[in-house]
């Protein structure tokens, strides 16, 4: 069964991408849409398929993979099932970086400035979290540090948007805090894909080190794992992947929490095997949610983060309840 997991997840992602491309407000049947996409129809339907739906599906998979993989990597390193980019403020800080790049005009002048600024925001948050609640910190410290960083990043983002000369900017705070894939284009894919790919490549090399960390830092170091290098690769990988994903889709939370939690029993709780599985699982989850927001309220722009929070927040509460004893232990 375990050997089938990755191929099964891959097939699921492919099926969801196909479904994503076939869902939309246009009153056209799935068969007709598919034909228009495949034959490269030059008419309006072909444009809708190629320029609106296809980039959205691809971006959904990339963003989901980035968030799922980053969640699994952070949980493996911090040895804490509550660590995930949205909860600990990495996504919020990346959103702050992106908003600053957009509102100061940097992003308009130099296109890669947008993902780079988001990456810088993410790096700052990851470093802060590692300093405040590093491997020796417990769950309570981690959650508190995450709350602090998220609150700070969210407030700063709202401030920057309110100071913008553009009258529409203030309303954007919802997009940045809840995330959305609506009307994304190939421009967004071209901006985000290289950084997500690079970040994912770095994170996938962490498997061996994360497995060794199961035994604790000393044992892992004695097993020949370079802990400093491991930490650097974690920070760089998470910042690149989450930064780029947030820059184009806003802060989508809970993916990195839900996906590793669901898949952990299926990989025997081994961190190394959880990494690629979480990438595929994250892609599947975001694609499914993106399809759902288009089916549930097709006329309104229901944000992706709303659905994620409806699924993820109860799970978060359940996890806290389960680790309550550990939390109370660190209080004393």
């Amino acid at each position: 069964m375990s050997r089938l997991l990755l191929p099964l997840l891959g097939a699921l992602v492919a099926a969801l991408m196909l479904a994503s491309v076939l869902v939309g407000p246009a009153p056209v049947g799935p068969g007709e849409s598919l034909v228009a996409l495949v034959t490269g129809d030059a008419g309006p339907l072909g444009i809708v398929m190629r320029e609106i739906r296809l980039p959205r599906a691809i971006l959904g998979a990339l963003v989901g993979a980035a968030l799922g993989l980053s969640g699994a990597a952070m949980q493996g390193y911090l040895r804490n099932p509550l660590a995930e980019p949205g909860l600990i403020g990495v996504s919020g800080s990346a959103a702050l970086g992106a908003v600053i790049a957009l509102q100061t005009g940097l992003a308009a002048a130099f296109a890669p400035a947008l993902p780079l600024a988001a990456l810088a925001g993410a790096v700052a948050a990851v470093l802060l979290i590692l300093v405040l609640a590093g491997p020796r910190g417990g769950s309570l410290t981690l959650i508190l540090a995450g709350i602090a960083v998220s609150a700070l990043a969210g407030a700063a983002t709202a401030l920057v948007l309110n100071l913008s000369p553009n009258p529409f900017a203030a309303a954007e705070i919802v997009f940045w805090t809840m995330g959305s894939l609506a009307d994304r284009s190939w421009t967004d894919v071209a901006l985000a894909a290289p950084f997500i790919a690079a970040g994912a490549a770095v994170l996938l090399t962490l498997g061996r080190g994360l497995d060794a960390l199961t035994l604790g830092e000393d044992a892992a170091a004695a097993l020949g794992i370079g802990l400093t290098g491991l930490r650097l690769r974690l920070v760089a990988g998470v910042a690149a992947a989450v930064g780029a994903a947030t820059a184009v889709a806003g802060a989508v939370g809970f993916v990195g929490l839900v996906v590793p939690h669901i898949l952990r029993p299926l990989v025997g709780a081994q961190p190394a095997r959880l990494l690629p599985a979480s990438a595929l699982g994250g892609a599947a989850l975001v694609l499914a949610a993106d399809i759902a927001v288009r089916l549930i309220l097709p006329d309104r722009d229901l944000k992706l983060g709303v659905l994620m929070a409806l699924v993820g927040a109860p799970l978060f509460l359940h996890l806290i309840h389960r680790t309550r004893r550990d939390l109370e232990g660190t209080l004393r």
Partner: protein, 275 residues
């Protein structure tokens, strides 16, 4: 046209609360962009004391240059009260708290609804004239406008299809001022075919599939916003729409300047027509 005269006079009588005022107001303050410009067109010298700061903004005001002649107010009850007006002109969507405060302070406030039809231009000119005690000037201006509008008139031939697409995907339908401008220039509005009579959110996909020949968007504000990125989505650039005209301050209020907007659209239509 005479029906409109009767209607606007009746409206003016209603606004005056039944009691006819002998003297026209001596100190008038306007706190709404559209009433600013109406008042600037019609007020007697020295009658208009202040207009809102929005009137000086070139992006939304058709009379931004002229507005420099009047002091600007911030539209708050405090600013206005200190100017000691005997009449305040506001829009029906002006913050209710501000209007209520001014009335509580004993100041007369006249509310003007936003223009939704080309016919509202004449009606509102006459309404403003009645309120300011400048009926004759208002009548002259309105008559000139209505004559010019008739003269413009669309030519025959199949109307090309156009769509209005503003920030956040807002598309104005037939029963709106921008929609009527489009119709006066001889375009068919795709929003009507998609069920948006006054206006509403139009999904990008639906817009692309409707394949209009012209897409009319607004000029972007400084700074950046995702709302304004939507009318500039690459899918629209690659679609079959031949032109993307930009609206400006002439489209915002129901003023005679709307004619300039109609003329611009007529020009766009002639550019679309096959050689």
């Amino acid at each position: 046209m005479s029906v409109w005269r009767v209607a606007s006079s009746a409206l003016a009588a209603l606004c005056l609360g039944g009691a006819a005022l002998a003297d026209p107001p001596a100190r008038v303050v306007s706190i709404n962009l559209c009433t600013d410009q109406l008042a600037m067109l019609l007020a007697a010298p020295g009658q208009l004391v202040s207009v809102s700061h929005l009137a000086r903004d070139e992006r939304s005001s058709a009379m931004a240059a002229e507005a420099a002649a009047w002091p600007a107010n911030g539209g708050r009850a405090e600013d206005v009260y200190l100017l000691a007006p005997d009449l305040v002109l506001a829009g029906s969507f002006t913050t209710p708290a501000t209007v209520a405060m001014l009335r509580r302070l004993g100041i007369r406030v006249e509310l003007f609804a936003p223009a939704t039809r080309l016919a509202d231009v004449g009606a509102q000119l006459r309404q403003m004239g009645a309120v300011l005690g400048r009926e004759a000037e208002a009548e002259a201006l309105a008559a000139r406008f209505e004559a010019a509008l008739m003269a413009l008139g669309g030519d025959g031939g199949a109307p090309p299809r156009a769509a209005l697409y503003a920030a956040n995907g807002w598309s104005s339908g037939r029963h709106s001022l921008p929609g009527e401008v489009l119709a006066a220039a001889g375009f068919a509005n795709v929003a009507a075919g998609l069920g948006l009579e006054t206006g509403g959110f139009l999904a990008l996909e639906a817009l692309v599939l409707a394949a209009p020949e012209l897409i009319v968007t607004g000029r972007p504000w400084p700074g950046a916003s995702r709302a304004e990125a939507l009318p500039r989505h690459p899918a629209l650039a690659r679609s079959t729409a031949q032109g993307v005209a930009l609206t400006d301050s002439d489209w915002v209020c129901g003023l005679p300047h709307v004619l300039r907007a109609v003329e611009a659209m007529l020009e766009a239509r002639h550019r679309l027509a096959p050689p």
